[in-house]
Symmetry: C2
DNA sequence: ATTAGTTGATACCCAGAAATATCAACTTTC
DNA sequence: GAAAGTTGATATTTCTGGGTATCAACTAAT
């Protein structure tokens, strides 16, 4: 017998397996990544590996595309509206020079953030990326920062 | 000679003229309305009339669709993220029962708001509708309500 | 070192969203 | 009151975004 640790954050699925579990093709998964919708782990040999959390995020994205009929650029725009500055608590100086703070076309995690508190962070582990993959939670965050009890 | 008052809010263009000025067809304009992207004025005889502001809003919508490649449902979702409660300053009781406050699929002005402060308002004149037709201003509003100097 | 799977890149396909056309009934204009 | 324009509704067309197939070069496993 062996002990199995179930950690939804641990990357375990190679791209082919992930694609099969989601019912889509491998190039589609690569496309989502290129568009900045997901940030999969990579092995030392530069191969993608997906965690259970990654799959859940992807299912959410697929629902947005197939059920809610939101285009990929639409999703990117919505992600760009996440008030990341409130999540990472960056300074006013950071915000002034941050490309993500200005953008309303691409998610913050698709930028590199030179000279900000995000500079050396791994966006993949950032709450902005992990917690706000669906519209409901994004709107809830906006409610929260406006000082409202939801 | 006659005095001409230029008021960008006054509805003057019938639908055919508006369509021509925008370079699109009449059914398309009706479609945008049915989708909840615009709220044109109507005459007593139920005919649509568009103001200069309406045209500007429509140009913005067209850019989102044609240049930014955001689908109509994407635009609706983005509009639904506008923190309207902060603009109209509705009460906690209002928010509790407000469909728009909950939704993240349709703009608030596509709901009727029974028993709230918005109930008897004309959404067409509401700042939520008039001021936040583009992503840039929406993100600016989110920044503002999080207490940030933009 | 051979087999299986991956990489990035390019070329291709097609469902369906976006836009248009068309209709009879109605409104406005002159 | 006749002509021009509009209404809502439905049917039809256009076109491209989302997805796939395929490739040679690379990585991983046994």
């Amino acid at each position: 017998m062996m002990e199995i640790t179930l950690d939804t954050k641990t990357p375990i699925y190679p791209i082919r397996t992930a694609a099969q579990l989601l019912g889509i093709s491998v190039p589609t998964l690569r496309m989502y990544e290129k568009e900045g919708l997901i940030i999969p782990h990579k092995t030392d040999g530069n191969q993608r590996i997906y965690s259970e959390d990654d799959l859940e995020r992807l299912r959410c994205i697929r629902r947005a595309i197939n059920e809610s009929k939101i285009s990929i650029n639409g999703i990117k725009t919505i992600y760009s509206l996440i008030p990341c500055w409130e999540v990472v608590k960056c300074s006013e100086e950071d915000r002034k020079i941050c490309n993500a703070f200005q953008s309303h076309a691409q998610p913050c995690w698709t930028f590199n953030h030179p000279n900000t508190t995000c500079e050396n962070r791994d966006c993949r582990d950032c709450e902005v990326y992990t917690e706000y993959s669906q519209c409901g939670s994004i709107k809830d965050l906006i409610k929260k920062i406006s000082g409202i009890a939801t």
